[in-house]
Symmetry: C2
Subunit: 247 residues, 2 copies
């Protein structure tokens, strides 16, 4: 089945998914809520390659969480991006107290493990934190991952240094079969859309009560600003359809 045919089929199945696929292909922002039974948080989501400094500014002003870049598991492996937990755990073998700080199975109430990798700055940035520097780092992560996925030999350290101001998130090896956080959901949608599977995510916070923004308020924000609002299950259904090439 051609990609267009699958797309047509998905168009028929779920209009929300189609609007998100249009947005993602056009490099536009949209929203993903994971699920009531997980974090219960909505993230701003946009393809890494499309990010301008105005998008970084928008995310920090209107979303408010950490601005992170979710990387496809295949690209993560090629770039040898470690899980931060593994990295600290390894260091903890030589420093027992450090080992105690690492998250363990059962520590997180909403999943088995976090997806954090290292924090980086592109080597062309200065301090790394201004919007234009974070946008540059983010776009370069997209470029480097795309190059690795195209079969090129990439030395990640030639382009980036750590510590830095942009968090890398490593999508689970089994993607949605293994984990259904915004990391995997956004990367899965990029795969369906046929774009470079490197996505920026940032949690939406409430500006009044100190909590995460509620699902209802996130939906309302989406309507007000013309942003598609997707729930995790919609992406899971579309991905299973796409992966199975059945519809």
């Amino acid at each position: 089945m051609t990609e267009t045919a699958i797309y047509d089929c998905l168009q028929y199945e779920n209009d929300n998914i189609n609007r998100a696929l249009e947005a993602i292909r056009a490099g536009k922002m949209f929203l993903i809520y994971d699920s009531d039974s997980r974090e219960g948080e909505t993230d701003f989501v946009i393809p890494a390659g499309a990010v301008s400094y105005r998008d970084v500014q928008w995310m920090r002003k209107d979303a408010g969480g950490l601005i992170c870049v979710a990387v496809d598991p295949v690209a993560s492996r090629q770039l040898r991006l470690p899980f931060m937990a593994d990295l600290v755990r390894d260091a903890g073998k030589f420093n027992g107290e450090l080992g105690e700080v690492v998250e363990k199975e059962g520590d997180l109430q909403y999943d088995s493990h976090s997806s954090f990798s290292i924090w980086v700055n592109h080597r062309e940035t200065r301090t790394g934190i201004p919007d234009n520097e974070r946008a540059h780092t983010i776009r370069k992560i997209g470029e480097v991952a795309e190059s690795a996925l195209s079969g090129n030999e990439v030395r990640f350290g030639n382009e980036f240094r750590t510590p830095g101001h942009v968090a890398l998130l490593r999508a689970a090896e089994g993607l949605l079969e293994e984990r259904r956080g915004q990391t995997e959901l956004s990367v899965a949608l990029a795969r369906i859309a046929g774009i470079n599977p490197v996505m920026v995510v940032c949690e939406m916070l409430d500006d009044f009560n100190g909590k995460a923004l509620s699902k209802e308020d996130a939906k309302e924000y989406g309507q007000k600003h013309g942003l598609v609002f997707l729930e995790g299950q919609e992406i899971v259904d579309a991905y299973m359809l796409w992966a199975g090439k059945e519809c």
Copy 2:
């Protein structure tokens, strides 16, 4: 010389420092600009123990950088907080490519090394990102460091897990003799003020041009919101005076 006498002396010397000492003792926000020859960035600064979720919200809305906690070098040693660069470098011994990503002497244009340690969530938080959860993590970092500085045996891993959503910054062992970033400047001021030397810092970004907020605009923001604006050199001078007990 008693602390009051030093304070009186500093009152005489620099009114700006005195206003900052008043703010810091009252648990209020103030601003620190490092210097024209370093990052050239202004940070929001507030004692960790005083942080409410509204302060976290204020920092993410009006400052916009990363919300980090600067920890006194003595407390950092007691809590065995590693520099992130050392941690990744150690891991790089077993994964050469990872070693290439770590910042090296000469990589940063404005200093010899960054002060990042690990990123943590307090174990009582859920996802760790909402304002009330970040505020809780921050206050607990303050409590634990204070307890360690008071001579108590503290197991950092009993209270926190990593990865997380609040960055720890480890102030340089030699403090201002070694490094003069917002990390060391804020901790030095806390020492002069006689409060627990654990400080929250967050870079101020410009909302229009993608850059760090200029010194002039940061000053203007401070005037508008009644926040003391300090330059690094003022803190260095006051600290040398205080440390030498001469004035």
